[in-house]
């Protein structure tokens, strides 16, 4: 075994290679824009040069003269599309700003025209020749721009339900022996998945097929149908592989219905592959945030008061926010808590979910402040977490279903060599390099959503699993295949998995780290339906006790964990007894606490995530601890992060290989959120300046010398049948704080605004 395939510990599946590995290394995995189309026309977008104002008119003469141009669509001749509500407010859309609807411009880079041509080259040429005349107004770019408005998040965003509070914060903070009162800031960031925001729309009569990278095919199918005003059964979204999502593809963007409408009118398949820079404004992003944290503690480190105020930027049109106080007010024991989240509206495109939406910015603030508190107390930061560790969250007193936070700290500290750290700032160096060690906690809510699945078993053991899940790089194919193989007791190689198609039984949005828990719980349930049918046929007189349901496996692979059958079934005989050629079962699973309309919502593409802090009498989170070494050059102030070590506990680990990879990628994302990534905004024009992969810094291989992932064994029987907490968004939380804490240790300088650039260091 190599490092990529860690030996499974208790409550972990096998580290089998990815189901889709050969397709991916052979170039045979077909992403949205890889789908062959019959005689497609090509679309190219023209986007606005102003952030606020109106279009006076177009000069299209030059563009139309480009040979091969078929049509140019503007708001004057665009297909009529209905509006869709914001995803966070019960709709499908990532933005309610609907381009090509009127002459009004709501943000820089809004789609103002679509050129359709016989070739990509002609469409691009003509798009560059479209001339737009505007009347521009002065836009408000961000927090400090004149003309913005600010209001509490509660009441305007349906997903933001509460500003958690308990006790008497003001009094407790006033009386606290040791205090931290600090402000933090995180930047605008763009997901930049490697696959562009393409879409291809093909009509066959009244039926529409959409090939598009999506993290929610049922949401997209229903959303586009709503916008086009057609029956959702007429729309099919297909994407067996998605070239990265990170939250950018969970909600519908305006481009899809626009292209679908044009394709219908022209009666021809249309393929749109937007440019990288257009992706910065035609989809969502992580908005900049500001935080004011107040911590009060006793001399022994026990927290007595905590206040977290967050402010986030959104568009004029939409009240989007991530609102991470639901996590930060519950992480540590503290009797007096206060919080408030507000939204500032500016002339921007609407932001959206980006990998660990609330926790990346909000935990940066809290975990930086905790480090500041540890310094004031002259206490080891790990011990400060230990003193404030808790089995029950402080707001409602609900118990954590399981919580391995300190276990993670201890394991990671050991692997990292934390004991080698000399606590005083600027006390460690190596030649020209100042060395700093830092750590921080991570946590992420355990979330689940209703999911359906269909499983078909043949006489020869071949199994087919169908579920409209999504392979965005998480290993969805692999863990679904493993789950079915284990539950039915058939060999893994016999299992075929079909996902990424809205004609399959509905699965949840691939977001909020709920996919594995939800889809695998559904697959387990449907596999059990098959086992029960066979059991009944073979042993009609046996009562179908729970014990029997548990123990009757099909018994082809006795070594498999689930085939712990005390009575194995002969497959041929079971089929004979049933008198059928194949057994096929469909089932719908919903998590505990799911709202009554869950299954209806599941079919109509409305995500109903439950879990985390919102559970009735318990609270479920995955936890981890992250340690980093930074090196800051005394003279150049160059900052490197040569070592990232994380230990994580997330319930059952379905596959240690895919889990490790995802956590490793997360740690690198976390480092990047501290040291590299920021979308720069021109304050005068409210425009993203570095909207390409050369200027928007994402990590490259040279940025990540050493990453170590430790998986802790953890069992949690109170969350979902699969026992999985989800870990796609766990590892990149807290890393940014750990890096700044390490920079403080290296230099004595506390940095509270991300990203940290060498010009911010004042050694």
């Amino acid at each position: 075994m190599n490092a990529a395939a860690p030996e499974p510990k208790a409550n972990m599946g096998q580290p089998v290679p990815r189901y889709d590995a050969v397709a991916k290394v052979a170039g045979r995995a077909t992403y949205g824009s890889d789908m062959p189309l019959d005689n497609p026309a090509y679309a190219f977008l023209v986007t606005s040069a102003i952030a606020r104002g109106r279009i006076n008119g177009f000069d299209l003469d030059d563009a139309k003269r480009v040979r091969g141009v078929i049509d140019i669509i503007t708001h004057e001749n665009a297909p009529d599309l209905k509006e869709s509500k914001l995803f966070s407010n019960g709709g499908y859309a990532g933005t309610t700003i609907q381009p090509l609807k009127s002459a009004d411009i709501a943000h820089d880079g809004e789609i103002v025209a679509v050129v359709i041509a016989e070739s990509y080259e002609a469409a691009r040429e003509a798009a560059n020749r479209v001339k737009v005349s505007y009347t521009a107004a002065t836009p408000s770019a961000s927090f400090d721009s004149p003309g913005t408005t600010k209001a509490a998040a509660k009441g305007q965003n349906a997903q933001f339900k509460e500003d958690p509070q308990v006790g008497d914060f003001a009094k407790a903070f006033d009386e606290a022996e040791v205090k931290v009162d600090a402000a933090y800031e995180t930047p605008t960031q763009h997901h930049n998945p490697m696959e562009l925001f393409s879409t291809s729309c093909v009509w066959m009569g009244d039926d529409l097929v959409i090939y598009e990278p999506s993290q929610y095919v049922y949401g997209l199918k229903n959303g586009v149908a709503e916008q086009l005003g057609i029956d959702a059964d007429k729309v099919r979204v297909v994407n067996p592989y998605v070239g990265g999502g990170f939250g950018s593809r969970g909600s519908m963007t305006p481009r899809t219905a626009i292209i679908a409408g044009i394709a219908k009118r022209l009666n021809r398949p249309i393929k749109l592959v937007p440019t990288r820079d257009q992706g910065f404004t035609i989809a969502t992003y992580r908005a900049e945030t500001r935080h004011a944290i107040k911590l009060g503690a006793n001399r022994d480190g026990k927290l007595v008061a905590l206040r977290h105020e967050g402010v986030e930027v959104s568009s004029r049109a939409d009240p989007y926010c991530v609102g991470g106080t639901k996590t930060t007010t519950r992480l540590y024991a503290c009797p007096n808590v206060d919080s408030l989240v507000s939204i500032v509206r500016a002339d921007r495109n609407t932001p959206g979910f980006m990998r660990s939406p609330p926790e990346v910015p909000y935990m940066f603030a809290l975990e930086s402040a905790m480090d500041e508190l540890a310094v004031k107390l002259d206490m080891d930061p790990i011990e400060l977490r230990r003193v404030n560790d808790t089995t029950n969250e402080p707001i409602g007193g609900k118990p954590y279903t399981s919580r391995s936070l300190m276990g993670c700290f201890d394991e990671a500290a050991k692997a990292f060599g934390w004991s080698q750290r000399s606590a005083a700032p600027k006390s460690m160096s190596d030649g020209d390099w100042l060395i700093g060690y830092g750590c921080a906690a991570t946590c992420y809510p355990t979330q689940m959503a209703p999911s359906a699945a269909r499983v078909r078993l043949q006489r020869d053991g071949r199994t087919r699993v169908e579920i409209a899940g999504h392979e965005i790089g998480t290993g969805a194919y692999t863990v679904i295949a493993q789950t079915a193989a284990e539950r039915l007791g058939v060999p893994l190689e016999q299992v075929a998995v079909f996902i990424g198609d809205s004609d399959l039984p509905p699965g949840p949005v691939a977001g909020g780290s709920n996919s594995t828990a939800s889809t695998c719980s559904a697959v387990m349930m449907v596999c059990d339906q098959i086992r029960q049918r066979m059991f009944k046929a073979m042993m009609p007189r046996q009562s179908l006790t729970d014990k029997a349901k548990e123990t009757v496996g099909i018994g082809r692979t006795p070594t498999m964990q689930a085939a712990k059958s005390d009575r194995t079934l002969d497959l041929e005989r079971a089929f004979d007894a049933l008198g059928v050629g194949v057994i096929e079962e469909y089932g719908e699973w919903k998590p505990e606490g799911a709202p009554p309309d869950s299954f209806k919502a599941m079919h109509s593409g409305h995500a109903r995530l439950v879990g985390g802090a919102a559970m009735k009498d318990k609270i479920a989170y995955a936890f981890g601890a992250e340690f980093v070494e930074v090196r800051v050059n005394r003279f150049t102030h160059e900052i490197r992060a040569p070592r990232l070590v994380g230990a994580f506990a997330a319930g059952r680990i379905m596959n240690p290989r895919t889990a490790r990879s995802q956590l490793m990628g997360g740690l690198i994302w976390g480092m990047s959120s501290a040291l590299l990534e920021a979308t720069e905004i021109d304050q005068r024009t409210a425009r993203y300046v570095n909207d390409n992969l050369a200027d928007y810094l994402v990590p490259v291989s040279a940025d990540v010398p050493g990453v170590e992932v430790i998986l802790l064994s953890e069992q949690d029987d109170h969350i979902n049948p699969a026992g999985a907490k989800g870990l796609g968004e766990l590892a990149n939380v807290g890393t940014n704080a750990a890096i700044c804490n390490a920079i403080y240790h290296a230099t004595g300088q506390r940095i509270r605004k991300l990203p940290v650039r060498l010009e911010n260091i004042e050694v």
């Binding site: 290679p17 080259e121 479209v130």
Partner: protein, 204 residues
């Protein structure tokens, strides 16, 4: 502020402009277009296709292409070889990396016309029948990808990197593979995969 301003042209940064400039310089030398008809206000007329032959994965492919077509778009849109990916179209991400001869090149910045007469190898041409190339197998063994979108480019780049002699240390691999972005950040596994495959490739 009022009046005319031009629309926001897409992708016109300095790098793209230089690529276009290089492209227009190449066209007159290699294009075999027919005579220009009627005075055209548009300099580059997409109707004026050129006939070229590209040698891809050991096979000659006759194509009639708009002279502005890149190798990447020729592969993807005209030859149905969609293994090579478009991640930026600007030479910034490496997703489109193919081999031209022994060299790794970003096919989005290479005009098809400029690649005529040269051996192009894409991810589809790397395996021998069902037998995966050692680098492909090493990527599987070391889980060197997640979403897989950057993977064809990573693998082509990795093969060339080893042959260039730039895979002798971890630091070397990291430096010489830094033109290939992996947003899923599979980098440590990619380095491990290259270390596994390198000896097999250099001895083969």
């Amino acid at each position: 502020m009022s009046g005319n301003s031009s629309s926001r042209l897409s992708g016109f940064d300095r790098r793209a402009f230089m690529a276009c400039a290089a492209g227009s310089a190449l066209v007159p030398m290699t294009a075999r277009a027919g005579a220009l008809d009627a005075p055209a206000p548009v300099a580059q007329d997409p109707a004026l296709h050129v006939e070229i032959t590209l040698r891809v994965n050991g096979q000659d492919k006759r194509l009639s292409l708009d002279p502005r077509t890149t190798v990447l778009d020729a592969l993807r849109e005209h030859l149905k070889l969609t293994g090579s990916k478009k991640g930026c179209d600007h030479g910034q991400c490496g997703a489109c990396t193919v081999l031209i001869g022994e060299r790794r090149v970003v096919s989005c910045l290479t005009l098809a016309l400029a690649a005529e007469g040269q051996e192009i190898t894409t991810i589809e041409g790397l395996a021998t029948g069902d037998q995966l190339h050692p680098m492909q197998q090493a990527f599987i063994d070391n889980d060197a990808f997640q979403c897989g979108y950057c993977t064809p480019g990573q693998i082509m780049s990795a093969v060339a990197c080893v042959k260039e002699g730039h895979a002798s240390s971890d630091a070397d691999i990291r430096e010489y593979m830094s033109g290939n972005i992996c947003r899923c950040a599979a980098y440590p596994n990619i380095v491990a995969a290259m270390k596994q495959a390198a000896p097999e490739i250099t001895k083969g």
